[in-house]
Subunit: 349 residues, 2 copies
DNA sequence: TTCGATCATGGAAGCGCTTCCATGACAGGG
DNA sequence: CCCTGTCATGGAAGCGCTTCCATGATCGAA
């Protein structure tokens, strides 16, 4: 067993043991074609016997490839990361990276200090690329991304400008789906709870919602802003009800806020969907467990993460993947059912 | 502006510009005392002008210190990471590391492949230390941790054995708190929903719960296992009700499961707390928003993460922090209120 | 048989930094 | 004024790996 405090073996020791030059050993290990079968095999055995694993730092220094990418979550508010949305994205990213030999460096940049750290990471070449989530209006991360020469992939568009590489859910289309559904089910007095106004996702969802409403000849009674939290949804809903006690439907730009809206309705003695229909956005894991189960626009969050990672790897490897828009679709549940026949209330489109 | 594709400046260039030797430059940058004020200042200026940032890979190779630690989340089930619990831990870890110059490498090791990756990370010396969360019974990660020479800190005890360094919430004490509370409030027919039986946290919570119940002279009607998910809690509650339709209280070893239990009760037409009192464990962000708001044993999840990180850094720096048990305490809300006077129903102990 | 062409081979030069060690300047005590 | 101790200084040797390049062996074509 010898859990000895022995140093890790080095390439030289492997080479010595295999009776070949260090160069040959390196080649054999890296599957370079210019090695004879015999040496290749000898090296393989030596590696095996010594339990050799190449030191990644040394390799990184020689190849100028670090073997790690950063996932930076921008936020002025630490708990934003606690949002299941980010966990899901991270999961997606991780699941893709698992198939590569890249490590995932997680950076929660909610303080100025965090931004500064990212700057240093990039300047110190600690990573081969960067994924940026949820960049807000004047977020300094956005600027950082512009300055670095490293590949950067955006998750969700920034408010201004279009980055070279991004993957974005079809927020606008999703907003439209919500509006069409409510219109189709006969709602007339419709309001909306949007997210932070400096988040492109909020803006695009509202935009799509407005478009489709207009097309259906329906007015948008009012819009109140939340912050994607349950609590934010609660109070936005209260404000909406105060101004428009007679509204019969509300679209929230995020499931968390939709859950908050449901709570407020319940507290006010209003029933969903009989009195007010509620549609959310995201289709988080908790949506089906809401009371009543939440009708919501589904966006493929885990795929978002996975595609960001895939895209970044492509760029790092010198390929040019285009950018990507992921489709959204409506998941109908009880908080805003389809109107009459209620037949195919599972998944509408 | 010159967003030129110029190479990053190297230490040699800084030295040249400052008119000192590379050695002196290195010393100045690393605050080595053996440098004159004059040179120190000259180097500072050169660094400034060139925008020099030391290449961390090169530094790592020379110092044999990578400047990164791994947070590995063990799980056979990918979505476990989506549990807000882990997000919160991660947040705590990150908040501490932010004050150091260590990077956080996140490893979601839910597949055999993930385990293999961790093995390689350790062998390839890609990190200076390791934090391990939620190690289950026969988890291979546990074995890995034993074999590596790198510092390892456990978050939550493993099922068998006691690692050298760990931080663990006082699960047993928390279980006791729950039992005492239910006993004190006059409940008699008490059941429990536990977590996976190969998780030490589950076992300890149940153990504490049993102890205090026995001490109070109350029987434990039944125990059903869930898996810390809402769905698991739902079905466990159903099984409990089937076997003991007359139970009047249930303690769930996790908030997710408690929420599930509440749902089942609601569906069965039972009221909480009038018919059945429900106590959870964790005090997740969603606990106060449950219906009814959940009485639960609070564990300081973010601190758990922060303390793990602090501990790991200590070990890496050659200090020996002891291990740590974090206190839990009861947060009383409506799902299991205190009995009569209902006066201090805010935070009991 | 001869002559390139082909290719396995290993020496050596890095990658960019830290740090050991030898050197010399300088200050203060005798 | 000399000697020893102190300390700033920079040359050079790594850290462990990749890769350029020169060398020599091998082989088939001429």
């Amino acid at each position: 067993m010898q859990a000895s405090p022995r140093r890790q073996p080095t390439l030289d020791e492997v080479a010595a043991r295999a009776g070949v030059s260090r160069t040959a050993a390196s080649r054999a290990i890296n599957d370079d074609p210019h090695v004879s079968q015999a040496k290749r095999e000898a090296v393989r055995r030596a590696v095996q016997e010594l339990g050799y694993v190449p030191n990644s730092t040394a390799r990184a220094l020689a190849t100028r490839r670090v073997g790690a990418v950063v996932l930076a979550v921008s936020s002025d508010e630490p708990t934003l990361f606690a949002d299941p949305f980010f966990a899901e994205v991270t999961l997606g990213v991780s699941s893709f990276l698992e198939q590569t030999d890249l490590e995932l460096i997680l950076l929660l940049a909610h303080t100025p200090r965090g931004t500064e750290r990212l700057r240093r990471i990039l300047a110190a070449r600690r990573a081969d690329g960067l994924m940026l989530m949820a960049v807000r209006g004047e977020d300094p991360l956005g600027r950082l991304a512009e300055q670095t020469e490293l590949p950067v992939v955006f998750g969700g568009l920034p408010l201004h400008g279009t980055p070279r590489w991004y993957v974005d859910p079809d927020n606008r289309g999703g907003g439209r789906l919500a509006a069409e559904h409510l219109a189709r089910s006969g709602r007339q007095r419709i309001a909306m709870i949007t997210g932070q106004v400096d988040l492109q996702a909020s803006v695009a969802r509202e935009q799509g919602f407005r478009e489709a409403l207009t097309l259906a000849g329906l007015p948008l009674l009012a819009v109140e802003a939340g912050d994607f939290t349950l609590r934010g949804g609660e109070s936005a809903m209260e404000r909406l009800l105060a101004a428009h006690p007679d509204l019969d439907a509300v679209f929230a730009a995020g499931d968390g806020m939709a859950l908050g809206a449901l709570r407020t309705l319940r507290h006010r003695g209003l029933r969903a969907p009989q009195d007010v229909a509620v549609v959310g956005f995201d289709d988080l894991a908790s949506a089906p467990y809401a009371d009543p189960p939440l009708t919501t626009v589904r966006q493929p969050v885990r795929s978002l993460g996975r595609e960001m990672a895939r895209m970044l790897v492509d760029v790092i490897d010198g390929r040019d993947p285009g950018s990507l828009i992921l489709p959204t679709r409506l998941t109908v549940r009880e908080s805003a059912p389809t109107p009459a026949p209620r037949a195919d209330a599972g998944q509408a489109r």
